[in-house]
Amino acid sequence: MLRFILKRLGLALLVALTVSFISFSLLFLAGDPAIAIAGESANAEDIQSIRELYGFDRPMLVQYADWLWNALRFDFGQSYYFKLPVADLIAERLSVTMTLGVCGILFALFTAVPLGVIAAIRPNSLIDRIALFLSVAGQAMPSFWFGLILIVIFAIQLGWLPASGASSWQHFIMPTVVLGYYAMPAIMRLTRAGMLEVLSADYIRTARAKGAPEGRVLFKHALRNAIIPVVSLAAVQMGFMLGGSIVVESIFALHGAGYLAWESIGRNDLPTVQALILVFALFYIVFTFLADVLNAWLDPRMRSS
């Protein structure tokens, strides 16, 4: 188990390193950051001096090594735009995004897993069909559009919920739904498919042949096995969600990391964008890593190997 964790950790680090390099080189091509720093009224000399000041005239690999070295110490440089340390900026905004992500995944799990289980218990029933349609429709719904519709209905027409901001739990309801519903279909399908597969497994028949009551068969014997892949998927989705929070945060004016990313792209604020890509990637990597470890722990076949 320890061996597994260590190997998995090594892989995670390698992935993180590669992502950081890709994101760095991608944005390296982005054009001249000096102009972004200099602002609207700078002249050519200003820009040249900024270029030298920040070391933009050095070769890319040198700049990358420099950046990476600093990044390892949680120093992602200064935001060109805010003139503040990127790390502080992101740290401050992450809480909103994390809250949103956690709420989103919980929303998805708490709706999708029961639905998937019910659908699997009664395949081809009305509930199953409804759940299936919901999942297809859910995946087809553009989240920006869904968000706008929710605002029109619940904030404007009904006035039940606030349209923007993050100052109370009500503010998180609509963003949570918009962010969470996108992960729902996948989780629901996997739960359903997993349950269906497990329910047709021989050991479920064994449990019934023992005289176990149906509830025990479903929850103790079936769900326990079906839930294992759902854990990984939820982690993957959580990683995606944080990256997908850009759209949601921009619609609901939540000042989270996603919104910061969008604005920073617009402002050519490269250190911030670079750091954010890395941070989002790290989240994905950490979540999948944790999920794998949790999986290994949940699944005795992996635990004991």
């Binding site: 061996r3 597994f4 998995r8 290994a296 076949r301 190997s305």
Partner: protein, 326 residues
């Protein structure tokens, strides 16, 4: 024994590295352990042994699907590695166990059977078609199946298709890896009859792998018994079935349940400990299950002892280690 073997294995070993679990440590697994075998022209060599003992691995090596880690495979006295794989595949053809997975479900029967011809660029399409029809007839399939797909056929019919494909190149050697174990007995007998007929008609040489001793007895001329990657006993079929020497061979024979009511279930006197191929027992790999185990069996690995028509690998038949131990 054959002096002029068409196929010969010399000290062949095959080691896989297997990982246990997703990230477990890779460990070596000796699927085949220093095996030597000879196969004479027109012979049927039955290969028996329990699941995981290395039968299929041996078949794959003979088919050139896997390279042996050590040792040589000789075809007509020439090493297999040196020969052109394409040329070789004209002479050795396979029939696999599972007729459901051995045919490409996306191809018509005609495509499947003619594939060897096309690969080896033999004949034009008309002559190939003719040949396919002939072949289908030989294996007892109506010609109209040529346009069908595997999923439209029963298991027995599919196995016939597989046989047709194997024989269309007029091979000398056919490697049959449990060709009937997925079939019902009523179909099994058809396929066994067919294999027997074809052998006579075309003078084929078979390596016939099976775990069903009754089937082996019926078809084979010689039998090799495999245990954990080694051939522990090899003998002519009559000899083996009359007086098997190795305790494992005997246990195998005793386990055969003939349809004789009233005889009851035999006691094989085998231990239940199932060997793990990754960490095989020391000395004689069979010793933990052996009814006649002797003290030195767990320390010294037996070596082959020649018998009139083969060999056996058991300390019961060589007294050197016993003497050495005492």
């Amino acid at each position: 024994m054959t002096d002029n073997p068409v196929l010969e294995l010399k000290n062949v070993s095959k080691t896989y590295t297997v990982k246990q679990g997703l990230f477990g440590k890779p460990r070596p697994l000796r699927a085949i352990n220093d095996v030597s075998l000879k196969l004479g022209r027109g012979e049927v060599l039955g290969l028996v042994g329990e699941s995981g003992c290395g039968k299929s691995t041996l078949a794959k090596i003979l088919l050139g699907l896997e390279a042996p880690t050590e040792g040589q495979v000789l075809v007509d006295g020439q090493t297999l590695a040196g020969q052109d794989r394409i040329a070789l595949s004209r002479r050795i053809q396979p029939i696999f166990q599972d007729p459901y997975s051995s045919l490409n479900p996306r191809k018509s029967i005609e495509d499947i059977v003619s594939l060897p011809l096309r690969v080896h660029q033999i004949g034009d399409s008309a002559s190939r078609q003719k040949k396919v029809r002939e072949m289908l007839d030989i294996v007892g399939l109506p010609v109209r199946v040529a346009r069908s797909y595997p999923n439209q056929m029963s298991g027995g019919q599919r196995q016939r298709v597989a046989i047709a494909r194997a024989l269309i190149m007029n091979p000398e050697i056919v490697i049959c890896d449990e060709p009937t174990s997925a079939l019902d007995v009523s179909v099994q007998s058809q396929i066994l009859n067919l294999l027997g007929d074809l052998r006579q008609e075309f003078g084929l040489t078979y390596l016939f792998i099976s775990h069903n001793l009754a089937v082996v007895e019926h078809l084979a001329t010689r039998v090799a018994v495999m245990y954990l990657g080694r051939i522990v006993e090899e003998a002519g079929v009559a000899r083996l079935f009359e007086e098997a020497r190795h305790p494992y061979s005997r246990a195998l024979l005793e386990s055969v349940l003939t349809p004789d009511p009233g005889l009851g279930v035999p006691d094989t006197q085998l231990g239940a400990a199932y060997p793990n191929p990754i960490s095989p027992p020391s000395g004689c790999a069979f010793h933990p299950r052996c009814a006649k185990v002797m003290p030195h069996c767990s320390q010294i690995a037996p070596t082959p002892i020649a018998t009139p028509d083969g060999h056996v690998e058991c300390h019961l038949y060589d007294d050197t280690p016993a003497r050495a131990a005492s």
